[in-house]
């Protein structure tokens, strides 16, 4: 085993992801403890140039036509081969769609344990010790593993590192000619709806709103405030609000002046999308809901009581 810390360089449409720079920041801290170097793993097709400026000591570049876009099967095979050959202490992968798709496969293919949802990692008495988010962010787990590991890292866990000049090594990849997956298209949602990232005030509803008919309660308050209604994933998945209104990891990242979270538990995937709002007020009947750790003000009053009261009072003061 080497003491190096590998990082999967995630890139889409010709650009390295922000999450990758955070991973490199985390990797620098970890490599200082293992005594190894930071090694970027760049998989692509004619994408060698993406290594420029990465905050890594070395970049291993695997080139294959099947790696042009993200093809999970090809990525897992190429990455597992790299890990098996170079035997790094840790492979850090962002907990994005890419990470959720390849980290487990690389773990199984290489027989290395996987530490998922990691938010911090270090070395203690020779063991990797990490903190992971579990149970929808309600608990953290401190875990350890003696040998090498695959680690998937949640967004926002380390400051981004940029501005390096890594040496690039071309590594022949495995034969990918027989893979069963082909990339067909990248589709961008076209939206005629409002842009929730451009709003000053969002009245945001979660599963606690209970049903499509109750969206009106939030809409009335939003109308009184001159605000827009947004929501958590279950609300848009259920069709209670359009997909374009979804806040979070797979929705939009918003930073309004006021984010009023109603009946939203504050799962890590949601917090990723609104944690930087200037003022967060949360309404949730569960006093232990993680949203209260992100909010500035909170109330455990039932939203079915509070929303109408708030609407009435806003109307009264702005009348």
């Amino acid at each position: 085993m080497s003491e190096d810390v590998f990082v999967l360089v995630e890139h889409h449409a010709g650009a390295v992801s922000d999450a990758t720079h955070e991973l490199l920041g985390m990797a620098q801290g970890l490599a200082a403890q293992t005594g190894g170097t930071v090694v970027g793993c760049l998989l692509g097709s004619e994408a060698r140039g993406l290594a420029d400026g990465l905050a890594a000591d070395t970049v291993l570049y695997v080139d294959a036509p099947q790696l042009e876009a993200f093809v999970p099967e090809a990525y897992a095979a190429a990455l597992a081969a790299l890990v098996a050959e170079r035997d790094p202490r840790a492979l850090l992968i962002a907990n994005t769609t890419v990470g959720m798709d390849v980290a487990g496969a690389v773990s199984a293919r290489t027989g290395r344990p996987l530490i998922a949802y990691c938010s911090a990692i270090g070395v203690e008495d020779g063991a990797l010790v990490a903190t992971s988010q579990v149970y929808g962010g309600k608990l953290n787990a401190e875990v350890e593993t003696d040998g090498p590991a695959v680690v998937s890292v949640v967004g926002g866990s380390a400051p981004a590192a940029t501005g390096g000049s890594p040496s690039v090594e071309d590594v022949p990849g495995p034969d990918l000619s027989g893979i069963h997956t082909s990339f067909r298209a990248r589709v961008e949602a076209e939206s005629s709806d409002v842009d929730i990232t451009a709003q000053d005030i969002l009245v945001s509803v979660g599963r606690g709103i209970g049903g499509e008919d109750n969206i009106e309660l939030a809409q009335e308050l939003a109308d009184a405030l001159g605000a827009t209604v947004s929501g958590s994933r279950p609300v848009t998945d259920a069709g209670w609000l359009p997909k374009s209104r979804q806040v979070g990891k797979s929705g939009r990242k918003v930073k309004p002046k006021l984010y009023l979270a109603c009946g939203i538990s504050g799962a890590p995937e949601h917090l990723e999308g609104m944690g930087d709002a200037e003022l967060i007020i949360a309404i949730n009947t569960d006093e232990k809901a993680p949203i209260f750790d992100a909010a500035h003000y909170g109330s455990t009053i039932d939203l079915f009581d509070l929303l109408p009261a708030l609407t009435d009072q806003v109307k009264a003061v702005s009348a």
Partner: protein
């Protein structure tokens, strides 16, 4: 098309989570368990495929707490066959162990597609679907928001975030981690679930391989020590509403 949907019972997060005596896991004895919400989405996607073009849907689950209810629920919704992999899983099952048990089951099954929830709240050692794919050497795609039969395999829409999806084609058997079905999961009246229970018909076979190790040890679990906590507003709805208005006025976020 033969589809296998893997189901798992998970902790109901609405409940208060207490730690066990050594502080390394939640105290499972008093918790309520329910079908993992993403497995429910995976089941719905399988049933949508069945509705549209015909498919044979098998649901399979480890014998975790109250799993019969979920298996009968799936039968009532339209699954053709339910299999319970028996064993002692009271203490919880890691994703690697679950993947090993599912892999063992699938090795003696004929299937074209495995659908499974993209994650569960307990996936400390990763998501079981992709680990399963890795064990079986099968192609995979996770965070799927649509799966449809397409020629010699399936077409998968993979959600990448910020409104971007990727469209993939996978030929032959594959494991797909479902984030959301194309429609909200169908509702099934409790009377139909009761009828399914009365009809019985859950097949049982012992789980094999579930002793596979996750390779990570939990030292402790703890509530996140957040650097800040919301200032909680007290009083009744009117009093809290009045305070909220004061706060947003101070911040200049209120019109007028």
């Amino acid at each position: 098309m033969k589809i296998v949907v893997a189901l798992k019972q998970t902790v109901d997060l609405v409940e208060e989570l207490e730690l066990n005596d050594d502080g390394t896991d939640v105290e499972r004895e008093y918790l309520t368990f329910k079908l993992n919400e993403w497995d429910e989405q995976a089941l719905e996607e399988a049933l949508l495929i069945k509705d549209a073009s015909g498919a044979d849907v098998t649901v399979v689950a480890l014998a975790e707490t109250d799993v019969d209810q979920s298996l009968y629920g799936a039968l009532a919704k339209g699954a053709d066959r339910a299999v319970k992999l028996t064993g002692d899983f009271e203490a919880g099952v890691s994703s690697h162990a679950r993947a090993a048990a599912l892999a063992d089951f699938l090795r003696s099954e004929q299937f074209d597609l495995v659908l499974i929830g993209v994650q569960t709240p307990e996936d400390l050692d990763g998501q079981a679907g992709v680990i399963l794919a890795g064990r079986l050497g099968l192609p995979h795609a996770s965070v799927a928001v649509a799966v449809e039969p397409d020629g010699d395999g399936v077409k998968v829409s993979q959600e990448m975030g910020a409104g971007v999806t990727h469209e993939l084609h996978i030929s032959g058997p594959a494991v797909v981690g479902v984030q959301a079905a194309r429609q909200a999961p169908r509702y099934v009246p409790i009377s139909r679930i009761r009828a399914a229970m009365q009809a019985g018909g859950i097949e049982e076979q012992p789980a094999a391989g579930a002793d596979a190790k996750a390779g990570v040890t939990v030292r402790r679990m703890f509530a996140p020590e957040s650097s800040s906590h919301a200032e909680m507003l007290s009083g009744d709805a009117d009093a809290v509403a009045a305070r909220i208005i004061e706060i947003i006025r101070e911040r200049g976020a209120l019109r007028s």
